[in-house]
């Protein structure tokens, strides 16, 4: 290999806290060659973003570069004065950020933002600059670039903004592109577009790329080499093939094992016990030692050095013995667990549920239209079953959950719980029904009142619904609940901020379970959590279902979770369910073009089985103004004439699978 483009040696970054500096990145070394993608993988707080900021020398004000070297084409970047650094940033290395919504300036047009870079680094002004901008926008796949140049960021969709951000980054024709979670904030179908774009651009220009991500699927699709970070250290560096076939560090293996997948249905997911040590008290030995199943006495005492285990494959671990193979598991989805016999009559029945939000305009606030967030959704949920409601952001799945709980008043339709109609039920009687229907929210940091103790939070529902009467009884009930979700009883006296994200989600689950509901609506309960913590929560939900017989309505966009947990799957697009069926049917033989595209767009965390992605054009339209006929027709690869005018009937296939698509209505008629 010729000289690397970017060479990081023993980089150490810290954050000033009071008088001491806490090391967030401790001795990280790696290289990125021209035309190569190096993926930096790790869970939140492991220091991967700080590394990227350190390379760009864009650390926040408390950040300090404590030591080490960053060489770009043989030039030491850390030694440059700030004035020279400005011509390095953007010109020789550029960065794309996670959140496209906040990385563009809202008061400047797209043209001005790209033009700024062109003027600074390419010395282009006026007409040549304009031509170059148009070229750049075409390169990143933006149609009608002449018009887009004069538009402001708010006029662009999320995916479009990220494309513009990439165009801005490319304008300086950098040798190295640092992409910090470039697709985390985007939907899977848009993520697929952006990842393809990055691959294409990299091949065309021979750029080096440092990709920072927590998603093994993205790594599998993009990376040439992978570095795994844990607690501020790089613990394993491997070429892509070796990384996916033979990961050697126990932490990497645990990450793979914690992924929910079809093959692990019914099994308990492997979790990593304990938590990442805090920056202030790093153990002196191996930082993973306390959570490691292969821990050796020496790893608590000494810091492991790099050990080569293959061609370009290094690992920072003392343990060299055999490792359990089943941890990594059989990736190929062999069979879905046989669906248990269709059980008792449904607890929860939703029919033709509609939630329309009025759009008001003008001085008199007259209603000029409706946002049809939910437009005729029907579901049924039997005791002890899990129904997954899947869809991209903005499709109305959270609104369905809240409307079922009557937190949002449905515009029309029926919600029946054990035969009792909830829509329009008087508040007094609704109060009694709330016992049987509870919700777990997405963000464990926003769903617990920071001013109340955990015990008070859990007891609130019991008090409001009069489940347990006395104070003493309530206390023991709280303790029992905490034990049920795997927290110590003394947690009741502490405040939510003393707990980690996973523990908080356990508290939220305990709160919902406190009133012994029959149906639990889980609104993306794991999307804010790291993979290893997600596994803990999924295990908990699964075991609670087995012991208590709770039915889950599981709202999610994560197909791994669906495969692992769901019995039935409903796919939503723009307020309507386009496909419904048992998990087996929907995941193994998706019928609706949208389901197929969605499934193919999910990056798989493995080498083989990277099927061809069905590319969807554009993004989800606004529910305020949905397309005529079938809502999906502007993006559908199989679009027909009839799709543009008529919403398709729902047709039944196989035992339980129903699809709303003209492809199948036609077949039936034939």
């Amino acid at each position: 290999m010729n000289a690397p483009l970017l060479k990081i040696t023993d980089l150490r970054l810290g954050f000033a806290a009071g008088r001491q500096t806490l090391l967030a990145v401790d001795g990280v070394s790696f290289e990125v060659g021209a035309g190569e993608t190096f993926a930096l993988l790790g869970e939140s707080g492991c220091g991967k973003s700080a590394t990227a900021q350190g390379i760009m020398r864009l650390l926040p004000s408390a950040g300090r570069i404590v030591g080490g070297g960053v060489e770009l084409d043989g030039q030491n970047v850390l030694a440059l004065p700030e004035a020279d650094m400005r011509s390095v940033r953007g010109r020789r290395m550029a960065m794309i950020f996670q959140e496209p919504a906040t990385s563009l300036n809202p008061v400047l047009t797209v043209g001005q933002q790209i033009g700024e870079v062109l003027e600074r680094h390419r010395d282009l002004r006026g007409e040549p600059a304009r031509q170059r901008m148009l070229e750049l926008l075409r390169q990143v796949g933006i149609s009608d670039p002449e018009r887009r140049l004069g538009e402001y960021p708010f006029q662009l969709s999320g995916g479009m903004k990220q494309r513009v951000m990439i165009a801005v980054a490319l304008a300086g024709e950098p040798d190295l592109l640092i992409a910090d979670e470039p697709t985390t904030a985007l939907d899977v179908t848009v993520q697929a577009q952006i990842l393809d774009l990055l691959v294409k651009l990299q091949q065309e220009r021979g750029m080096g790329m440092l990709l920072i991500t927590h998603d093994l699927g993205v790594v599998a699709r993009m990376a040439h080499r992978v570095g795994v970070m844990y607690a501020g250290e790089l613990v394993e560096v491997a070429p892509r093939e070796a990384f996916f076939t033979n990961p050697r560090h126990p932490y990497t293996r645990a990450l793979f094992a914690a992924l929910p997948e079809v093959s692990r249905r019914g099994a308990i997911l492997t979790t990593i016990p304990g938590q990442v040590p805090s920056l202030a008290c790093m153990p002196k030995g191996c930082r993973f030692a306390d959570r490691c199943r292969y821990v050796t006495p020496i790893s608590r005492e000494q810091w492991p050095n790099w050990r080569s285990v293959g061609e370009g494959h290094q690992v920072r671990c003392f343990y060299g013995g055999p490792m359990d193979e089943e941890e990594i598991g059989e990736h190929a989805a062999e069979v879905l667990a046989a669906a248990p016999p269709q059980p008792a009559p449904p607890t929860l029945e939703v029919q033709e549920l509609r939630v329309h939000f009025p759009i008001r305009r003008g001085v008199l606030q007259r209603t000029v239209g409706h946002v049809k967030a939910v437009d005729g959704v029907s579901l049924s949920l039997a005791p002890g079953r899990t129904l997954a409601l899947v869809g991209e952001s903005g499709c109305g799945k959270t609104t369905v959950g809240k409307a079922i709980l009557q937190l949002i008043k449905p515009t029309a339709g029926h919600v029946r719980l054990n035969g009792a109609e909830l829509v329009g039920m008087p508040a007094g009687r609704l109060q009694d029904m709330r016992r049987d229907l509870q919700m777990v929210f997405q963000d464990p940091f926003a769903s617990l009142n920071p001013r109340l103790r955990v015990g008070e939070i859990i007891a609130e529902g019991m008090a409001a619904l009069g489940v347990v009467a006395g104070g003493k009884e309530r206390q023991s009930a709280v303790a029992a609940l905490l034990e049920q979700v795997g927290l110590p009883a003394e947690a009741a006296g502490r405040y939510p901020h003393e707990f980690s994200g996973g523990q908080r989600q356990r508290i939220a689950i305990a709160r919902a379970l406190a009133v012994q509901p029959e149906v639990l609506v889980c609104d993306e309960p794991t999307s804010a959590l790291d993979v290893s913590v997600q596994a803990q929560i999924l295990n908990l939900l699964k075991s609670l279902q087995e012991s208590l017989g709770v039915a889950y309505l599981f709202i999610t966009h994560n197909f791994g979770v669906v495969e692992y947990l769901a019995h039935e799957v409903a796919v939503m697009y723009l307020g309507r369910i386009v496909e419904f069926g048992s998990a087996e049917e929907v995941l193994r033989s998706p019928k609706h073009p949208y389901t197929r595209a969605l499934l193919s767009a999910v990056p798989k965390p493995r080498l083989e089985g990277q099927q061809e992605v069905i590319k969807l054009a554009g993004e989800t339209p606004s529910p305020a103004n949905p397309p005529s006929g079938c809502h999906f027709h502007p993006r559908c690869p199989n679009v027909m004439e009839v799709c543009r005018s008529v919403w398709p009937e729902t047709t039944r296939h196989e035992a339980t699978q129903t699809v709303a698509c003209h492809l199948y209505t036609e077949q039936k008629e034939k």
């Binding site: 919700m439 929210f441 997405q442 769903s447 617990l448 001013r451 109340l452 609130e460 409001a464």
Partner: protein
Amino acid sequence: MPFQIVTLWSDGLIWLLVVAGIGFGFLIARSAPLLAAWRRVGKSRVGMASATVLVVFAIIGLLDSLHYRLKLDGGEGRPPTYAIEVLSVLDAVATPLRTHNEKTYSAPFATRLYAKETVELPGGGQTREYPRLKYGGAHLGNDEDRLPADVAGKAALGLGLAAVLWGVVAALVTASVARREKVGRGEAWRRIWRGETPFAWSALLVTSGLLLALLLPLVALAGYYHVFGTDKVGQDVLYQVMKSVRTGLIIGLVTTLVMLPLAVLLGIIAGYFRGWADDVIQYVYTVLNSIPGVLLIAAAVLMMQVVIDTNPQWFATAAERADLRLLALCFILGITSWTGLCRLLRGETLKLRELEYIQAAKAFGVSSWRIIVRHILPNLMHIVIISLVMDFSGLVLAEAVLSYVGIGVDPTMISFGTMINNARMELGREPVVWWSLAAAFVVMFVLVLAANLFADVVRDAFDPRAV
């Protein structure tokens, strides 16, 4: 009893506030996040320095809020009668200052009046000269040249006393730190000055040292001289400044008492219930906000004045009348100033009500009022505390401005505003009478600066984003 206790309305309110403050302190001690926030305030040096200054002002204000009327010597058997003048404990403490009235203006530390007068000579005939003051430097007799030496001597005495007192305070603080941290006194002393104690004792010691060094010489001198001079009617300016403190504090505190319930209640109702309640409340505060505040206050104060003047039988003393007008002013200021806080609270409530823990509470069927009390109000407290402390200084300044315009407190009530208003005319004469204005300005500046610095520290400590 040789006196009759008089409770003015404002006295009642201010002591109620003290009681409420103590009660609030107990509540804070029970709530960990609030206690932690106040600990952060306690750790801040600026915060503790300004708090020390504020405490001195508070002591002056509280002493001035204990009122009584002296019993007059009516003779045996007759029903007791009481003096028409309502005095406070502060007046009693500062009796020499209150009673040592000169004829008219005299400069600070002067022994003679500021203007020449025609004086009858004992042997007949007249002369124009600066007459000798009745009280200022009277103990010097004819030996007026001794004045600098006398002032220096008395100030040195005061300083010496201050040093002794400060030594006692420092020893007490060190002993308490030593006991709490279970270390020797020497070690405790070192920790205090290195800022290694959980409470910013060093700032407290420095500030109290400075204050003692400033105030004790002042006390030592005040009995013999007019340290800040006298005003047009010969009243001691130092006395006036001390009396102004209470007026300023009442305006700053009682007004918030009026506006707080309005702002909190209406803000939460508007933000939480939305709908027509939100429309009505928003409409009301937008309308209130668009009327010039001074105009509204002027109209209300003038009307109040008419009511007071037509019902003289309501008031036993002039002090009661002035007090009522002060309260009316507080009330009017409260009515016009709740809108800002209300708007802030409405916005924050709008944000909070969409948060998931509120949604979760709704899913449990928790009643709206319970959600407001348990979930929303505690999460708004930091905004309330911050804006209360910030508003205080603004209100003290507003009083000065309003009294200057003539629509503030009763002209007989001493306040920073009336002092500045009275001094205004004298700035145009030659030689200039500057001390009245300067004294009012300096004291008000110190009070407002301390309040502002304290507000900054409180805001930093309570701002959830800063943690």
